[in-house]
Symmetry: C2
Subunit: 600 residues, 2 copies
């Protein structure tokens, strides 16, 4: 079966009927754009993704990169695809025209890049990392570094990595040991080991620019002593060309469950004490800088998870529409014709859940991108700041909800296919394996929960949560059909619950302490995730009702009816689970907290 | 890390402190046994599993069986392990002494075989299938067939398969097309194609005995026209030795996501119209016979799922006890020592869930085995029949709950390991892939839900559900601590809910019809699964409290305390989700039922 990578009708719906992306050209940054140029960019991405990314997705999984001790080899298709993506301008897509960019909004770029991930998450990993690393360099690096590295990165001649994790420290960046010693030449000598560095070694580009977290000798302990360094695979000559191999070595490739086309590497910096690194920005500010890239990467991870979920949904949908098997329970006539399995209610349940997760997740990720657009381009500074505050709150939610339910969605796609889904002859098993990375990297979902309840909720006097509530209330105001009012009421009750739970948790922080209060942080994350996505399903309902209110083709009517029915699924089957999570929180349940190690 | 395959302390607890397996030798069938002989059998299985099954589990995943067009090849370790298992008497373990068996109870055999699955699910697949096929032949086949095939199967010289599924029909056995034509020689000529036949071809044994569902020409349509045939790979000569290659051909091996060591095959019967098959029992009774094997296989699948879950739990537990990373939220002192990750509440949550699933699942599977023991060996026929009725009700629950939560458990094991868990350098990703088969084969979990709500609940005047309730009530009577009384109350409320929901669904069957009523069958399955396992956690609590009431070593006290605390997890975090499922059922929610195909 071959079907388009994404449902373009849904993309258009979300961009132009739910979000008002057609109005973005009213903002000065996008004044040279129009809905047509947005669609043209998406068309280009879709075509490239179908032509050059999708065809080797399965092959790259089967034939993962290898390292012979000297060189990393991989399918030649990967370089062809990455070069074409860069050539078409997508690495620099959101950058200024001055930098060779297209000044496209983040929300449009999300969809463009989304097509590449949907087609081939592991090949698209390389340009994604480059784009994010280049953006960090653009914002924080000195003009000198920018002059050397930015243009070739944005053009796709150099690629980028984020080198944070160390073998002994894992997620605990406070404990990194990689050191940086200043030299008389202005650069530093970097020394240390990094693990799980995606794209850490390959031959796809002329150079690889590692953004490395390290501590300058004598720096404060913990995260306050972390600095950020640009460490190129090759240092440049005066012409800006890669000239001298830097002292960065590939210790080995890591063999993963999925995402196999993206090299995951163990890297050694400064084995011979000659690893040249350039400080980015000020000393000891590295984590702050890196968090720009990491926040961006978290939304990217979420979008990737949803794109893979969407692929699984659409594949299993096409399968269910085509595969004949069994009859309805009421039909006891043997030899009567078999029905397509989509006729079975339990198969429909699994497809509905996938539709709810993948389309709800797309709305969630696009919300993130559009908030970034607002933060960057709204002229009213107060509104721009509010967008940033809300995005800050939502980032852990977007990352964790999308990756959790994206993976769950791919699990359901396998189940729809049954025995066939368990074989490598069908693609859904690879989707599932690929997606399993997403609840882990860029901060595990457990860490996202701590970030949300331990930090984000309370920041700026809890402004973020207030902003979220007021936006949801604004949507509820627009609910005027029987269904949407009913769901608006459900959301209202849910918001009251959040308020009550949050207030209590604030008190618990004082009375019970942070360790106990944060021990059920995952329940709080679940609640906010479900509520946020329920809100987005209400938004989609309102937009669909608007669409239905004018005369439509049968196909269009069905599209809108499907939106409303999927919202019903979400409100009846998914949202109500928050009450159990809330009970655990308000009961101050100590089950996890008080479990003793020797009791296991 | 290397730790024992299962927690033997838990095995002893479940067999002898929760179930009263030490009393089984009071029954005449087991009169030559004692707790010591049971333990000796378990010791032997454990040792064999560790020595011969566990060592090639990972290798057999990496080097799956291959087919060169003539012969299937696989690691030689597989045959060595299977032969040793047979040699030690485990294929025939539960059979009569007369048949060379050990007359071991099913509950003890479950644990013995459980060790093999825990060590290596795909290698143990071969003897498991043989044992189940032999048992079917013993019960239903003619003396002639038994004389030829039973002894070599029980000795492991011949192996067995169950050949049900056909490419076009999948789970819908009513639609199979494989035909059987009687000949003058008393045998039949079988013709047709079968798919996903585990162990369908290999060189592990001298012969392979396929149990094939087929329709005799002129048979009634649908499931009432299905007969069962014994189709050997080689027909036997007068000495009972495999002599002539039968007309059964391997069309190809299927490449799976996991369970890779077990060949999954597409088989062609009668390509040259010469496939000899022997009718088992009466014509058109095949599905009934096969269901004996299938019910047994469903409990076996459940046990397999729980064994793989247990391996993941224990591996991730050992990892969490060893791996240092991060600090408690309250500790803001950088450079203070990192804690083992088991100290983090969210990691404990993931370990507690795994413990609840794997130990609760073990209790569930052992309940199934002990009911089979009761059905087979209780002298009071009424009690024996009740055990069978209850087992009949519980089979879809045991199969689906164990496979769903077993797989979920393995997902959590990956998450505990984080980035490491996503690599093939650690075993947890294989556990997860292996386990993903279990919600699919031997009837998908959607089919189990239909079996439960469409059939099992109403059979025998709903005797099964009454028996379950009265057993649960009996346990609640024994709850006399504050905690266990509290959980007994929760179970009481849950049982009232089940009664109410079941009554309504019975009415709905009449008023709304089967199609609509069964459309939310998965919710009903969820409810009964959670309640049954909660009951078993209450049983474990009562047994643990009894254990604690006498003086104990600190280690023993910790074991019992862990049981009670895990029960708390189950009652606070898992059981309450049934109320949301019940709401969907009592609301007669039609979301899945009324979704239209063109709305997707």
């Amino acid at each position: 079966m071959s079907e388009p990578l994404l449902n373009r009708r849904d993309v258009q719906f979300q961009l132009y009927e739910v979000l008002n992306c057609a109005d973005l050209p009213l903002r000065s940054r996008f004044s040279e754009h129009s809905k047509d140029t947005f669609d043209a960019a998406i068309d280009t991405a879709e075509q490239l993704a179908e032509d050059l990314f999708a065809p080797h997705n399965h092959l790259a999984d089967q034939q993962e990169p290898t390292f012979d001790g000297k060189k990393v080899s991989m399918l030649s298709d990967v370089k062809i695809a990455c070069d074409a993506l860069a050539e078409a301008g997508f690495i620099a897509g959101r950058q200024d025209y001055d930098l060779g960019g297209m000044q496209l909004p983040e929300s449009i770029m999300s969809i463009c890049m989304g097509y590449f991930t949907a087609a081939n998450p592991s090949t698209s990993g390389y340009p994604f990392l480059t784009s994010a690393a280049a953006n960090l360099i653009r914002v924080f690096a000195s003009d000198g570094l920018k002059n050397q590295f930015l243009a070739p990165m944005l053009a796709g001649r150099f690629s980028g990595t984020m080198a944070l994790t160390e073998p002994h420290a894992g997620s605990s960046l406070a404990d990194i040991r990689t050191s940086a010693t200043p030299t008389e030449n202005g650069h530093y000598l970097v020394k240390g080991s990094k693990l799980f560095i995606s794209g850490g070694e390959h031959e796809l580009t002329d150079n690889i620019v590692h953004l490395v977290l390290a501590k300058i000798k004598g720096a404060p302990a913990g995260v306050k002593g972390i600095s950020l360094f640009l460490v190129p695979k090759f240092t440049l000559n005066d012409n800006g060309e890669p000239a001298t191999k830097n002292d960065v070595a590939l210790a080995g490739l890591i063999h993963k469950l999925g995402y196999r086309g993206t090299t995951s590497t163990a890297l050694t910096f400064g084995e011979n004490n000659e690893c040249v690194g350039y400080l980015i920005g000020e000393p000891h500010q590295g984590l702050r800088y890196m968090f720009q890239m990491m926040n961006e990467a978290r939304i990217g991870v979420a979008m990737g998870a949803i794109m893979i979920a969407t692929r699984g949904y659409r594949y299993s949908l096409a399968y269910a529409q085509d595969r004949e098997q069994g009859r309805h329970p009421s039909n006891t006539v043997p030899d009567s014709p078999a029905v397509n399995i989509i006729e079975h209610a339990d198969v429909r349940r699994m497809l509905l859940a996938q539709k709810a997760y993948s389309e709800g997740g797309l709305a969630l990720c696009l919300l993130g991108s559009s908030l970034l657009d607002d933060a960057n381009t709204l002229e009213n500074k107060d509104d721009a700041n509010k967008a940033l505050t809300l995005l800050d709150l939502l980032t852990p939610i977007i990352k964790s909800w999308s990756s959790e339910f994206g993976t769950k969605s791919n699990d359901l796609a396998i189940q729809v296919l049954g025995g066939a889904g368990y074989t490598r002859e069908y693609p859904v098993e690879q989707f599932w394996r690929d997606n399993r990375l997403n609840p882990i990297h860029e901060g595990t979902n457990g860490i996202q929960a701590l970030d949300l309840l331990g930090r984000k909720v309370w920041q700026h006097n809890s402004q973020g949560l207030l902003l979220l509530s007021s936006r949801i209330h604004a949507t509820i105001q627009h609910a005027n059909s029987e269904k949407s009012k009913h769901w608006g009421d459900a959301l209202n009750r849910a918001l009251q619950l959040v308020q009550q739970v949050t207030q209590q948790l604030g008190n618990d922080m004082t009375t019970l302490g942070a360790d106990r209060t944060l021990s059920n942080a995952s329940c709080y994350l679940n609640i906010l995730g479900k509520i946020t996505v329920a809100w987005l399903w209400l938004q989609q309902t309102i937009a669909a009702e608007k669409g239905l209110s004018t005369e439509q083709s049968p196909q269009e009517s069905a599209f809108y009816a499907g939106k409303i029915h999927t919202a019903k699924y979400f409100f009846n089957w998914e949202l109500p689970t928050i009450y159990q999570d809330a009970k655990i929180l308000t009961d101050q349940d100590d089950t996890c907290f008080s479990m003793q190690n020797e009791w296991f």
